[in-house]
Amino acid sequence: MKPVNQKAWFLILPVVLCVAFSAVLPLMTVVNYSVQDIISPERRVFVGTDWFKSVMRDDDLQGALLRQIGFSLAVLLIEIPLGIALALAMPARGWKASAVLVIVAISLLIPWNVVGTIWQIFGRTDIGLLGAAVHALGFDYDYTGNPTHAWLTVLVMDVWHWTPLVALLCYAGLRAIPDAYYQAASIDGATKFAVFRYIQLPKLRGVLMIAVLLRFMDSFMIYTEPFVLTGGGPGNSTTFLSQYLTQKAVGQFDLGPAAAFSLIYFLIILLLCFVLYNWMQRVGRGADAAQEG
């Protein structure tokens, strides 16, 4: 076990101060807004939990929430396995490893608004490669008019954009496994799958936890890319939570309801991450116990 040492607080103090400054102060401001009706900067009325009540009853919000959960689940189900598979397939050393790393990482480095813009052109059937290709295959593809196509396009874009994050993390994790493990496995005559299941996967647990939580949070907060690509349409089909929030906060200058919405939004993410975090820790501990037993 780790030794108890209260002085360790001094080591984390800088982090706590930094984050408190840039997180707690603004969060308090948001809480402050959420209980007031702000008519002008000088005129404010305390309204208690009214905004929270009205936000909770908002049908549009519930629709956006459901779409959001569906989208985030789809993102996790595709990107995590694909990322692991990629990490396993990437060459371990030599110039090929370097080249593949750089190519894989490129999509992460493009500013999000550019990502949206590129896919906007890329997906058009008249002038874009993706659109033209899908069209040539005989699909009547139109991401600006068909809600399903729009949703799928946003999903594919997200897979393109963020799978590298999972792949890079897993790749770093895989490289950490000492050769001795593989030698032992080959002496035992373990199959490829057994090596993956009993050596690689348990060793990847730490980075996978980071990858799953990061992808979950970030997909839950996705804003810029669908905003640029589809503008939330057609209809509401790709209006996710943060876009709905921004419409409220910026579009209508409803600070109070927008703040209440923000807090509810934050609490939803917090709750889901908490469940996910604890569940993964439990699964991890169970696996450890099974290995030792």
Binding site: L27, L109, P111, C273
Partner: protein
Amino acid sequence: MDDRRFKKRTLLLIAYLLFAILPVYWMLLMSFKTNEEILSTFSLWPREFTWEHYRTIFTDESWYSGYVNSMIYVAINTVISLLVALPAAYAFSRYTFLGDKHVFFWLLTNRMTPPAVFLLPFFQLYTTLGLMDTHIAVAMAHLLFNVPLAVWILEGFMSGIPREIDETAYIDGYSFPRFFVTIFIPLIKAGVGVAAFFCFMFSWVELLMARTLTSVNAKPIVAVMTRTVSAAGMDWGVLAAAGVLTIVPGAIVIWFVRNYIAKGFAMGRV
């Protein structure tokens, strides 16, 4: 090694690389086409090859200063994030103390706040402090999501280093700062490389906060790019050229940290 399996993996990799590179190729292509050609014809190679869009960026000060501004605040942010995250990650990986698990999870929660939530409070906060439109403001704002991430990644790497190494160093008479800088950090070089890359990346591509907190002097490239949407329509070519150029610094960074990632954190976890 099982041969058929190996081929399947390579095939998957090649297919993915193709999928990854095609949109980037399209962007590169757009940056060399005239705007009329981008919007009117489908072509796999520009008919009229033009450097015009790049010329626009390199001759217009508001464009290239965008790159400089972005690099300044990203650098400040990455350095601060790593400096504060290193000792904290060490504390989390080595000691038990009052509220450690809670603080750790609280840090993570900051990564979960939708940036849109904080726009207005940040605007007010930095206006009050007189830091609006400075590189520091953006760098500080980005700490919100980069510090938790850095602590998180570094903690994972540090937990892989056996504690015996620390104890041996103390017995040998190393003081804590000397041990940390000369022995411990070299051991987790890989982790520092990965964390630095992720801090760089997330700060480099973030748009909402960077745009809200700057107006002229510190305007980042991502915000300058939104300018290409004007009354005369979208300047697709310049946007694509700017996009291509935004990849370059990141590609250089990943080239430098690639060895750290590839070597992994092979030291510990035995």
